[in-house]
C-alpha cells in the first residue's frame, strides 16, 4: 500500500509537474549565498555544533558544514540556518 502511494506520487510528480517537495515530502533546500540555508520538510535534528548540523529527512540525511552555525529558527517542518556555509551534503535515500 505504501509502495502504491509512493508510485502514485511519483507518477503525479512526473506527469502533472507538481513540485516534488509537495507530493513526496522530499526536502527543499534554499541557499542565500553562504549566509543562510532554508530547509523545508526536515524531520528533526540529529546533531548540532558550530561547524556541523546534521538533519534527518524523510529519506536519508542532510549535513551542513560551515563556521559559526546557528539555528535561526526552527518550526515543525522548516528550519533556518545562519552562519558561513561551506557545504551542504545529501546522504542516503535512493
Amino acid at each position: 500500500m505504501k509502495r502504491l502511494s509512493r508510485r502514485v506520487n511519483k507518477w503525479l510528480t512526473r506527469g502533472m509537474e507538481v513540485p516534488a517537495d509537495v507530493t513526496m515530502g522530499v526536502p527543499r533546500v534554499t541557499m542565500i549565498g553562504h549566509l543562510h540555508v532554508y530547509i523545508e520538510n526536515h524531520r528533526g535534528i540529529l546533531s548540532f555544533s558550530h561547524q556541523r548540523v546534521h538533519l534527518r529527512l524523510a529519506e536519508g540525511e542532510l549535513e551542513v558544514t560551515g563556521e559559526n552555525l546557528i539555528i535561526k529558527a526552527i518550526l515543525p517542518e522548516e528550519l533556518i540556518l545562519e552562519g558561513t556555509i561551506q557545504q551542504v551534503t545529501h546522504k542516503g535515500g535512493e
Binding site: S49, L75, P76
Partner: protein
C-alpha cells in the same frame, strides 16, 4: 495586535545543559515551543536559545521529559504588559475603555439649569452660555472656573441683579435674581360705579366713594351704585371732591333660559380592546410587518398613527416606521326618564349660564317655568336666580 503571544511581547534567553540536546530541540518543536537563535556555547557542551516568555511553562515540561537543565537569562520585549496576551484580554480591554469613557463623559457639560429667571432673561443667559461654549456636550476643562463665569455672566447679561453660578457634577446651575422696578401706580380718572344689570342689592362693599343705594332695593341698569363725588351733602357742588369709586355691589339678578334634550342619546364608547401594528414606510409605500390591520377585527374603531423615532439626548432620529394603534368602540344608546332629564337640563343650563358670567357669580335657585314634550324631546324653560357683582365703572356725568 490581537495575535496570540507575538514576539514583541517578550522573549527570554536561556542556556540548556544536558546529554541529549538534539532530542531536546526536536521535542520542543513537537510541543510547539518556538526556539530561535539556537547556538552552541563556545565550549560546546551547552546550548543557547531564545524562546517566548509565554512558552516557558511548556518548555519546563519538555526539559523535564528530556532530562536537561535550563537556566534563564536576559529578558527582552514588553514582557511587563504580558496580560495583553492573556485569554480575557478583550474583557479587560473593554473594562478599561469603559472606565476611560466614564471619566471622559463625566468631564462634559450635560445640562444647564436656570432658576428664577423670566423666560426672556433665561433665553439671554442661554445664548450667552452658548457663546462662551457652555452648552451640553462641551468638555468642562475648556471652561473658565465658576467664579469667573459668574462674574462675566452678571456683567454681560442685562436685566439681572445677580446671577449665581454653581457646578454640580456635570450640570451647571444659574440662580438668577432679577431686577424688579417698582410699578408706577396707575392713575385713575374719577368715576362712579353703576349697575350693569337690573337686580336687587344683596351686599355692598365700598372701598372708595359713597354708597348711593341701600340693601334690598331694586336697581335698574345704569343706576349709580357708588358715587365718586364725595363731600358733605349740604356743601356746594363745586366743593365736592371727585375720586375714582372702587367697590363691589352684589345683587340678585334673573335669567331665563330654554334648553331642549332628547330622551334617547347615543354615543361611542371604547371597549378597551386594542391592537397595534407597525408598518415600514419606504419608497412611498407602506408595508405592514407586525400586528394586523384592525379592519377585519373590529366593526367600529378609532386609529391613531405615530411616527417612531430613536430618542437621543440631543436629537431624535426619526425611523421610517409608523405605529398605528386601533381602539375598538361600540355605539351605546341610553334613554332617560323624564325627571332624570329635568335634573340634567337644570344642571346643564346652570353650567352654560355660569360660563357666560363672571367667576364669582353664584346660582341661588333654578325654577322650571315651562315644560314641553314632543318628538322624543323635552323642552324646558328655566328661570335662574343668580347673585353676582353688577358694578361697572362709568365716568361721572355732570348734573345728575
Amino acid at each position: 495586535m490581537f495575535k496570540k503571544n507575538p514576539d514583541w511581547l517578550g522573549l527570554v534567553e536561556m542556556k540548556v545543559e544536558g546529554d541529549h540536546l538534539e532530542s531536546f530541540i526536536n521535542q520542543c518543536v513537537a510541543n510547539k515551543v518556538v526556539l530561535s537563535e539556537i547556538r552552541r556555547t563556545s565550549r560546546g557542551d551547552k546550548l543557547q536559545a531564545t524562546i517566548r516568555i509565554s512558552d516557558v511553562k511548556s518548555l519546563r515540561k519538555v526539559a523535564k521529559e528530556t532530562n536537561v537543565s535550563v537556566r534563564f537569562g536576559r529578558r527582552r520585549g514588553f514582557y511587563v504588559i504580558r496580560w495583553l496576551g492573556q485569554r480575557r484580554f478583550g474583557f479587560v480591554f473593554g473594562a478599561l475603555v469603559f472606565c476611560v469613557l466614564l471619566i471622559l463623559l463625566s468631564q462634559m457639560v450635560w445640562r444647564i439649569d436656570i432658576e428664577g429667571a423670566s423666560p426672556g432673561i433665561e433665553h439671554e443667559i442661554r445664548e450667552w452660555a452658548t457663546e462662551v461654549g457652555l452648552e451640553p456636550g462641551q468638555p468642562q476643562w475648556q471652561l473658565p472656573p465658576e467664579a469667573e463665569i459668574q462674574q462675566r455672566v452678571t456683567e454681560e447679561v442685562p436685566g439681572a441683579t445677580w446671577i449665581g453660578v454653581e457646578r454640580r457634577g456635570t450640570s451647571y446651575h444659574f440662580h438668577v435674581v432679577e431686577q424688579h422696578l417698582a410699578e408706577e401706580e396707575e392713575h385713575v380718572d374719577p368715576r362712579n360705579l353703576v349697575a350693569a344689570k337690573n337686580g336687587v342689592i344683596r351686599d355692598i362693599f365700598v372701598e372708595h366713594g359713597s354708597a348711593e343705594v341701600s340693601l334690598n332695593t331694586y336697581v335698574e341698569r345704569g343706576d349709580v351704585l357708588v358715587s365718586g363725588r364725595i363731600g358733605r351733602e349740604e356743601s356746594d357742588e363745586d366743593e365736592r371732591e371727585e375720586i375714582a369709586a372702587i367697590g363691589e355691589v352684589r345683587a340678585e339678578t334673573w335669567y331665563r333660559g330654554t334648553i331642549a334634550l332628547p330622551f334617547k342619546i347615543s354615543g361611542e364608547v371604547f371597549t378597551g380592546e386594542r391592537t397595534r401594528s407597525l408598518a415600514l414606510q419606504m419608497f412611498g409605500e407602506e408595508w405592514l410587518f407586525w400586528g394586523q390591520n384592525a379592519e377585519r377585527l373590529y366593526e367600529n374603531y378609532e386609529s391613531e398613527t405615530t411616527q417612531l423615532y430613536i430618542p437621543l439626548y440631543f436629537v431624535d432620529i426619526p425611523l421610517p416606521i409608523e405605529r398605528t394603534s386601533y381602539d375598538e368602540k361600540v355605539i351605546v344608546e341610553r334613554s332617560y326618564e323624564e325627571d332624570e332629564l329635568i335634573e340634567i337640563a337644570k344642571h346643564l343650563g346652570q353650567r352654560q349660564l355660569l360660563r357666560s358670567l363672571a367667576s364669582d357669580a353664584e346660582v341661588i335657585s333654578a325654577n322650571i317655568l315651562q315644560e314641553q314634550t314632543d318628538n322624543g324631546k323635552v323642552k324646558l324653560s328655566i328661570h335662574y336666580e343668580v347673585e353676582e357683582d353688577i358694578a361697572i365703572e362709568a365716568p361721572i356725568t355732570q348734573g345728575d
